[in-house]
């Protein structure tokens, strides 16, 4: 008999959670360590639970609902949905993160709800963010979320894995956002559909945990089910003091079987920009430099972390946002806002002309906080630039790194940030 090859991170985590020798292609019913929903999806999950006749969640310690997408409420309809979520929290005892706490994808790891080796699902497609922390986390719909909240289980197809290795080193002024945008440009918006991606290589090793989360956050933008990384010393340090759970890191076996492998020379990558209206419509910044912009957005679950605010503040220190630009800053969580205040980043950004909004999703989903006008161009650190995404079908969204956004809001046009990092 031919011995089976080693396992990928996904196969190991699914094996540990299903009591089977899980291999790519298997269908398993697995125990989930945590279930999360946000204000756009939880109301439908609550309704599904009611329709199932379920009045309790499987473990209130392992369920959280977050008001972040449209928060504080701009409309009475949203207020009613938020009320429904608060009542659900009281009824079930699950954790409720109310207005001002932050984006779900920052809060769930920040509060220590998940640790390396965990399996979790969230009713939000960017749940894949915690793959950077060696958590198999994936987005599901509200009914799947409800089933997981009710039973602590969900069925999964164990995905094939694509291995992406970033070799070389990042140029000054180039960031993890540029790495993932470059990949989207290379493999397309369905380049990894039904697959998990594992990110490896010296460039990933060098990145901070925060910067890694930017990459995993956008795994869904190439269709992937998860964007996984190994847990190293930095990862474990990041979790220190964040809760009671013990990390159980899962490295892939050296002889793991990958569906595909792709190696990218990061040294050759400059700042990247995704142009309207698709995340894989990616160009080197040189091709879009000078494009006029009316709004800049710094924040979201992709790039609203302390390091992102620090990068923007370093560029805007002593400079001014162009008078023709609205620069909206949404820290990803209350803790990040506090840390950014303590570090002086908020002072710098606001003095430069930024409009600071509540920790949360900011204007990313078009519900509030900066809907662009007809014909306007926006440069944003978010993860999606679909037509109408920010609430106006006649606006045009460009995606880039926090450095690219900060450099661009100074000049009211898309600007290569590398000039601020020279020498």
């Amino acid at each position: 008999m031919i011995p089976l090859p080693g396992k990928t991170i996904a196969e190991k985590i699914f094996s540990n959670h299903s009591g089977t020798d899980a291999r790519a292609g298997d269908i398993v019913v697995a125990d989930v360590d945590f279930v999360m929903g946000q204000d756009g999806t939880t109301p439908l999950a609550i309704r599904a639970l009611a329709n199932m006749g379920v009045t309790e969640v499987f473990d209130p310690e392992k369920v959280a609902v977050v008001m972040d997408h449209s928060s504080p409420s701009p409309l009475e309809g949203v207020s009613a949905l938020h009320t429904m979520m608060r009542e659900f929290g009281k009824q079930t005892g699950c954790t409720v993160y109310d207005v001002g706490e932050g984006v779900c994808h920052q809060l769930i790891p920040e509060k220590g709800h998940v640790v390396p080796g965990d399996l979790m699902v969230g009713c939000d497609s960017h749940t894949c963010t915690y793959g950077a922390l060696n958590v198999f986390s994936t987005g599901v719909g509200s009914t799947d979320g409800a089933a997981a909240m009710a039973s602590g289980k969900l069925w999964f197809k164990v995905p094939d894995t694509m291995k992406v290795t970033y070799e070389g080193a990042l140029q000054p002024g180039v960031f993890s956002k540029d790495l993932i945008l470059y990949l989207a440009g290379q493999i397309g918006v369905d380049g990894a559909t039904y697959e998990a991606i594992e990110f490896h290589g010296p460039v990933i090793d060098e990145l901070s945990v925060e910067a890694r989360m930017t990459i995993s956050n956008m795994a869904i933008e190439v269709g992937a089910k998860a964007g996984l990384m190994k847990a190293d010393a930095k990862t474990l340090q990041w979790f220190e003091g964040r809760g009671e759970k013990t990390p159980n890191p899962q490295d892939p076996d050296p002889d793991a079987a990958y569906a595909r492998e792709l190696t990218i020379d990061a040294s050759a990558i400059g700042p990247q920009v995704a142009k309207p209206h698709a995340v894989d419509n990616v160009s080197p910044i040189e091709e879009v430099e000078g494009t006029p912009i009316a709004e800049g957005v710094l924040g979201t679950c992709t790039n609203g972390r302390l390091e992102d605010l620090a990068i923007a503040a370093s560029i805007l220190k002593g400079r001014r946002v162009h008078p023709d630009v609205r620069f909206i800053v949404a820290p990803a969580s209350r803790q990040i806002l506090l840390d950014a205040i303590a570090a002086g980043y908020i002072q710098t950004l606001v003095e430069a002309g930024a409009a600071l909004v509540t920790p949360g999703c900011g204007p990313c989903v078009g519900t509030h906080n900066g809907v662009p006008s007809d014909g306007e161009n926006v440069i944003s650190t978010a993860n999606r630039n679909f037509k109408g995404r920010m609430g106006n079908s006649n606006a045009f969204i460009y995606l880039g790194s926090p450095a690219t956004v900060a450099a661009s809001v100074i000049e009211a046009r898309i600007t290569d940030p590398r000039k601020y990092f020279a020498g």
Binding site: T41, G77, D124, V140, D144, S151, L154, V189, G366
Partner: protein, 166 residues
């Protein structure tokens, strides 16, 4: 189950923001009201065209990419979309469709034009194009999904078994 209706054809990579914009999904939890905005970014008249007699939404590759919003299959159901036929589907949409009871068919949609009269036989795994007199085979759903769809979706499955019974 045999379904009959006209084809309404669109392109590749149709994302969930196009199926139902984020700006509507927060306004209410009333899917019937929200359904009027189904596919609005691509076709402002989708609801008016499909609602009276039903229809098949026919698309290219990667239908339903983007967000996890279950409002996407729900507004299609409420606009009287009988099934979605596409060359391929984004993963979360595909699961959500099955969970909410919207049939999804992965087949070669190059063989279908806008306005064609179709019969979809889910058990036999064949789309009959009555306008063109052709048949397009498609692979059956994986057993787990076929069971969930035949139970009437995941909610009904849970009601029936009190949990997962797959």
């Amino acid at each position: 189950m045999e379904l009959s209706a006209k084809a309404f054809k669109y392109g590749d990579d149709i994302n969930t923001d196009y199926i139902i914009s984020g700006k509507y999904k927060f306004k209410s939890a009333d899917m019937e009201a929200m359904a009027h905005h189904a596919m609005e970014e691509l076709d402002p008249h989708y609801y008016d065209k499909v609602k009276p007699n039903g229809g098949f939404l026919v698309a290219g590759k990667n239908f339903g990419m983007g967000s996890s919003r279950e409002q996407a299959p729900l507004v299609l159901i409420h606009s009287n979309t009988k099934a979605v036929l596409a060359k391929s589907f984004a993963r979360i949409f595909y699961r959500n469709a099955i969970n909410t009871g919207l049939p999804v068919v992965e087949c070669d949609t190059d063989l279908i034009d806008d306005g064609d009269d179709l019969v979809v036989d889910l058990e036999a795994g064949v789309v009959r194009n009555l306008t063109k007199g052709t048949e397009i085979p498609f692979p059956p759903l994986p057993p787990v999904m076929a069971q969930l769809l035949s139970d009437g979706g995941l909610v009904e499955h849970f009601k029936k078994y009190g949990g997962f019974n797959l």
